[in-house]
């Protein structure tokens, strides 16, 4: 008995789907109009949303290659002499990467003597710094053991060129450790000259191990630079979370010259997105609603007949809502595919990068398309459900 009931239920469900199939696929003209109305909306929305989400991401990635956007340094007067210990570097890095993907580089700065003049020398891990500052123009090679990289301005003032040798001394008064090299001058080869157009052009970059040999001491780093893959608001959150932990003895600050640019571009894109989205939604709404009204008007006799056969108003409403949902679904799927195509072309032409397919965005677009189709159909569907069954006889 239960099996029979189940079988019957399935048969009625199949009949519902058959009627739906007939209405959608055997009445191609009107169905096509409704699908096109949904399709245009879905395509435009997906394209705009994809570009608005992807463009800031692409811009962000581009900007990340121009250096750090978050700088962490010791709190003045606290760890200045000892710097930030490796354990704290790891801890800070963990806090940053917990919020967003990030690359980082550490810098230990010392004042050294070159030709009796005081210069700043940075001890670095060359690979870290190179990854972080892809825009640095380096003539020659990055620092290696026994070989330094000199900033362009300093090289010019000292008459240094690639391949030359230079002696770098470390004043004995600054020696804090007991290493072998402390207080002695060391001979380095100029492996490369770096040109950034910024303050880096007055610094000598050496492998950290060389700096430790020169100073005869190991200590923590003075600055950690992060390139975090996030927007301004994300950076502020990360910086705040680090600054709140005063016990860490470090402070963090976003580098605003990059993030301000992000914000402006994103704000402009988002405003444009919302404006166009609202217009597109309204147009889709009107388009689908008008088409459904036309479908209902064309099928008045059929609706009257269904009611004469015993269909309830609710049943008629359900059938037409399901039909409009089908149009929304078909339009949403095709529109999303087309929208992705347009967005991909746009990204290729502007960013010279292909656009990845965002499944969540696609799902959202299709669902929105279905929802808009159904909402836009409510008025015509209500009108349909109120059609008088006597209509079929009156029109004889």
């Amino acid at each position: 008995m239960a099996a029979d009931r189940h079988k019957s239920h399935m048969t009625n469900t199949r009949m519902f789907l058959t009627m739906l199939f007939g209405a959608v696929f055997r009445r191609r003209g009107r169905a096509l109009m409704a699908v096109v109305a949904s399709l245009v909306g879905a395509a435009t929305l997906f394209c705009l949303a994809a570009v608005c989400i992807e463009a800031p991401r692409q811009i962000n990635q581009e900007m990340r290659s121009y250096g750090a956007n978050l700088v962490v340094s010791p709190i003045q007067g606290d760890n200045r002499s000892a710097g930030i210990e490796q354990g704290m570097v790891d801890h800070t890095t963990h806090m940053v990467t917990a919020k967003a993907p990030a690359r980082y580089a550490t810098y230990r700065y010392e004042t050294v003597q070159v030709n009796a003049g005081a210069r700043v020398m940075a001890g670095i891990h060359p690979d870290q710094v190179r990854q972080l500052n892809r825009h640095w123009s380096v003539e020659g090679s990055w620092p290696r053991p026994g070989s330094v990289m000199v900033g362009r301005d300093l090289a010019d003032s000292l008459g240094l060129t690639t391949g030359k040798r230079m002696t770098i001394g470390y004043p004995a008064s600054q020696v804090t450790g007991t290493g072998k090299g402390g207080g002695q001058g060391r001979d380095f080869r100029v492996g490369g000259i770096v040109d950034t157009g910024g303050p880096e052009d007055r610094i000598i970059y050496a492998d950290l191990a060389d700096l430790e040999l020169l100073t005869g001491a190991k200590r923590g780093t003075d600055v950690i630079e992060y390139s975090v893959n996030t927007m301004t608001s994300g950076l502020k959150t990360i910086a705040a979370s680090i600054n709140d932990m005063t016990s860490m003895g470090v402070k963090a600050r976003p580098v605003t010259r990059i993030t301000a640019g992000d914000s402006h571009t994103i704000a402009m894109l988002q405003s444009l997105f919302w404006l166009v989205s609202v217009v597109v939604l309204v147009l889709t709404f009107v388009g689908v609603g008008t088409t459904m009204a036309s479908i209902v008007s064309q099928r008045r006799s059929e609706i009257g007949l269904r009611k004469a056969l015993g269909a309830s108003s609710r049943g008629i409403a359900m059938e037409f809502l399901a039909e409009s949902a089908c149009y929304g679904l078909a339009g949403g799927l095709i529109g999303t595919a087309l929208g992705y195509g347009f967005a991909r072309l746009l990204c290729l032409s502007v960013f010279q990068r292909p656009l990845g397919f965002n499944w969540w965005l696609a799902l959202g677009t299709v669902l929105l398309s279905v929802a808009i189709s159904m909402i836009a159909s409510i008025r015509p569907v209500l009108r349909a459900s109120r059609i008088d069954p006597a209509l079929v006889l009156r029109e004889e």
């Binding site: 009627m19 007939g22 056969l309 009156r394």
Partner: protein, 289 residues
């Protein structure tokens, strides 16, 4: 028929349909005026009359698609005037099968699916049963065709299959042969005869004398008023009267001035078509009580 049974019929309890002083009024227009009519289970009744005589209004009321302005309608002893739209829809799908002049098939569904639509709204879809109904009207081989691929006669036969699929107590047919050629008209009338023989009640609105003459009983409407009643089957008439059935009548006076005389009532065409051998040709009533 026993006395008790007769009194049950008299009270309307045994009648399939019982119209008591039914009127339908639109402004000043009395589309139906004070009509009294009883139809027992299994009777074949023809309603004749010219355009505007109130036939369609009567069909709408009998088919639970409209309600009277005055008077009451009882279907299977149940008054219809107090029912909601949803309850009327239930009555339509459970008790009544409808056949229309313009066929009215759902254009994007096949013949078989059109029959199953009636099952769908009634209770449970059963493709085998729907196929049997189509087979019964001689259209099993056209089951998968869309209405646009069927001739007018075939479409009307699909309508008949749809009307009978739920085994209704009453089939209401509005000009069922109005758009058919003679061959198809004969097929449809044969189907009606079969249904009638099986005990189904039929109420057929028609202009066609031949179609009307197939019925056991004919009533004629004119300007919303009963203009006459005629029995084509004396045996049925006797049984009806014995069961307590009363002749149809209108409380309103008949406007006999410039009325069109409907075919079937003293119409030479009808005599020619039927060979003048119709049983019972007297007009039994003319609107008077």
């Amino acid at each position: 028929m026993t006395q008790a049974k007769a009194s049950e019929f008299q009270s309307g309890g045994g009648m399939l349909l019982d119209l008591d002083h039914v009127s339908k009024i639109y402004g000043d227009l009395h589309a139906l005026d004070d009509l009294n009519l009883s139809v027992p289970q299994g009777q074949w009744l023809a309603v004749v009359g010219s355009s505007g005589s109130g036939k369609t209004t009567l069909m709408n009321i009998l088919g639970c698609m409209d309600t009277p302005s005055r008077g009451s309608v009882r279907l299977q002893g149940r008054p219809l005037e107090d029912l909601s739209q949803s309850q009327l829809a239930d009555v339509r799908k459970n008790v009544i099968g409808l056949v229309f002049q313009k066929f009215y098939l759902v254009p994007h569904l096949t013949a078989l699916e059109n029959v199953m639509v009636a099952q769908y709204y009634h209770s449970v879809v059963d493709e085998d049963q729907a196929m049997k109904a189509l087979d019964r009207v001689g259209l099993a081989d056209r089951a998968r065709h869309l209405p646009s691929q069927l001739s007018g006669g075939e479409q009307q036969r699909v309508c008949v299959a749809r009307a009978l699929i739920n085994e209704p107590k009453l089939i209401l047919a509005d000009e069922p042969t109005g758009n058919l050629d003679e061959a198809n008209e004969r097929i449809v009338l044969d189907l009606f005869r079969q249904l009638h023989d099986q005990g189904t009640s039929l109420i057929v609105v028609t202009h066609d004398a031949l179609v009307a003459s197939c019925a056991q009983r004919e009533i004629m409407l004119n300007h919303g008023v009963l203009a006459g009643e005629q029995w084509n089957d004396e045996e049925a008439k006797r049984a009806y009267l014995a069961a307590g059935g009363r002749p149809a009548f209108s409380g309103a006076p008949v406007d006999s001035g410039d009325q069109d005389i409907p075919v079937g009532f003293h119409d030479p065409t009808k005599t020619a078509k039927t060979g003048g051998s119709l049983p019972g040709s007297a007009i039994d009533g003319k609107g008077g009580r």
